[in-house]
């Protein structure tokens, strides 16, 4: 009976998170086009619905009913497997992200944590491990398409993801040293306090270098502009997605946006305090103070605000910066980002050793 309740609660939580992520992906596809066009003196999609707000629906219907083409020379198995291999790791990371305070509720005698699917003690390591598997989807898709552009895109993506994943891993080590834990919930809890944003790892922990390195590497890891060398419309048609169409292409597309959301979630939990409010407690007026049982509303609200800030930053960067050259990308990753991240680790360790 207890197992059943636990499993039922987990299924409900998983369903809610999946639906939220998919809806956010749909919103993002429209938001990206709209925000880009607003920044570039254009209008963006205007035809489907008022101001084009039904465009994601139209796109979804189109991609769903499109003919599913497998090129004649393609490896059928890997060609079909690659989109799944890139979509599943993108979604699986949401299992350990804390969306709200670490509360517990009693449900038929079973304690359930409503704002996190599962709190495992190596949460961030688990996310890093699974996002690396996402690179397999890209390179296998590029190889299996039997197309030179796809192969080049896949190779580029593999090289880029590997070099920048290293930087992601090193940039967050400072945060892990400060928190003393790999669990996302513990990391978020350690940043709570009466002085709001002064307790965050970014300001209180002075992880500014780590934050910048993480942000840049995260943009590169999700293959977004200005690091979209794997996709590179002007050079490689569409990179590893050249031969894909219909639902398989939609899988890659959803994986890219889900990865963006995941990376934003990690950034807000690790550096911006997750669900913790930035406003110091004493500044909050009396009528806005929520009762103890309702603090989760402010937690979820601030978490959403932070995630959407990072997502906006993705579009903002895309509207501003042109694509890097391949050698510049590698040079930047290995010669600038890596030493910065290593230096951040050294300095943080020394400071933590002497102050604790």
């Amino acid at each position: 009976m207890e197992m059943l309740v636990f499993a039922g609660a987990s299924v409900v939580k998983i369903t809610i998170v999946m639906v939220t992520v998919l809806i956010t992906v749909a919103i993002l596809t429209l938001a990206e086009r709209k925000i880009l066009s607003w920044m570039q003196d254009r209008m963006g999609p205007m035809e489907v619905g008022p101001y084009g707000i039904l465009q994601p629906l139209a796109d979804g219907i189109k991609l769903f009913f499109k003919e599913d083409i497998i090129p004649a020379g393609a490896n059928w198995l890997l060609f079909s497997l690659a989109p799944i291999l890139s979509l599943v790791p993108a979604f699986i990371g949401f299992a350990v992200v804390p969306y709200g305070p670490n509360q517990e509720i009693e449900l038929f005698g079973v304690t359930v944590k409503p704002f996190i699917i599962t709190d495992i003690n190596i949460g961030i390591l688990y996310i890093l491990a699974f996002t690396s598997i996402g690179a397999y989807g890209v390179i296998l898709g590029g190889w299996a398409s039997n197309n030179k552009y796809s192969l080049l895109g896949g190779l580029r993506a593999a090289a880029q993801v590997i070099s920048y994943e290293l930087n992601v891993g090193l940039a967050i080590i400072g945060v892990i040293i400060l928190s003393g834990s790999l669990s996302m919930v513990t990391i978020a809890e350690r940043q709570a306090g009466p002085y709001g944003l002064l307790h965050w790892n970014l300001f209180g922990g002075l992880q500014i270098i780590g934050f910048v390195v993480y942000l840049i590497s995260a943009v590169a890891e999700t293959n977004r502009l200005p690091f979209d060398l794997a996709e590179a419309e002007s050079e490689l048609v569409a990179g590893w997605m050249t031969e894909y169409s219909g639902m398989r292409f939609a899988f890659f597309f959803m994986a890219e946006y889900a990865n963006m959301i995941l990376v934003s979630c990690i950034a807000s939990v690790l550096f911006l305090g997750g669900y913790n409010s930035p406003i110091p407690d004493s500044f909050v007026p009396e009528f806005l103070r929520l009762p103890e049982s309702l603090t989760w509303i402010s937690g979820v609200f601030w978490f959403t605000v932070k995630v959407y800030f990072f997502l906006f930053l993705f579009f903002w960067l895309r509207a501003t910066l042109p694509r890097l050259r391949y050698d510049q990308l590698m040079k930047f990753g290995w010669k600038v980002m890596l030493p910065l991240a290593l230096g951040n680790i050294v300095i943080t360790s020394i400071v933590v050793y002497f102050l604790r």
């Binding site: 925000i35 066009s37 607003w38 920044m39 570039q40 003196d41 254009r42 209008m43 205007m46 903002w316 960067l317 509207a319 501003t320 910066l321």
Partner: protein, 185 residues
Amino acid sequence: MAVADLVKTFTFYEILTGMKATITVFVQRIILRNRKAITLQYPHEKRDLPGTYRGMIALLKYDDGTEKCVGCDLCEAACPSRVITVVSAEVEGEPMKRYAREYSMDMTRCLFCGLCVDACPVDALAMTKEYEWARYNKRDLLLDKPQLLALGDRNFPEREKKLEFQHPNVAYFNIGHKNLPPKTS
């Protein structure tokens, strides 16, 4: 100077300048609302075309409904792309008068240079402002005489008076006057 450059590099000064430019446009567009998109929503709103716009070519008529074309073949000779085919014939019962029995234009080849319009001695040809002539079938762009005349009727509802009722100078400049001066000679 070198120190300033280093500081600029490490604070991403150039990138931040660019990001400020994009967010400024964004704020002006969405929050201040003092900036408009330069996009023209084409099928719903169209550009104002200049008066000299060179669109589809049309054959014209006089105000009594007779065709202007005298079948002289000069347009065919002037055309650099061999778009025009004219078959000239005599008007029955009037031995001195000729007309174009068949007149066809292959608009797939036309480059809209307007040399035929310049060449026409009786101003029977004109360039309209029509441009939405995409067709699924290429043969639909082979225009025959009724189609060309229909184009002229559609785009130039005000027709000119007959040549012999016009003042010679006026006729030369192709301006139809309501009150014509009496012919001398």
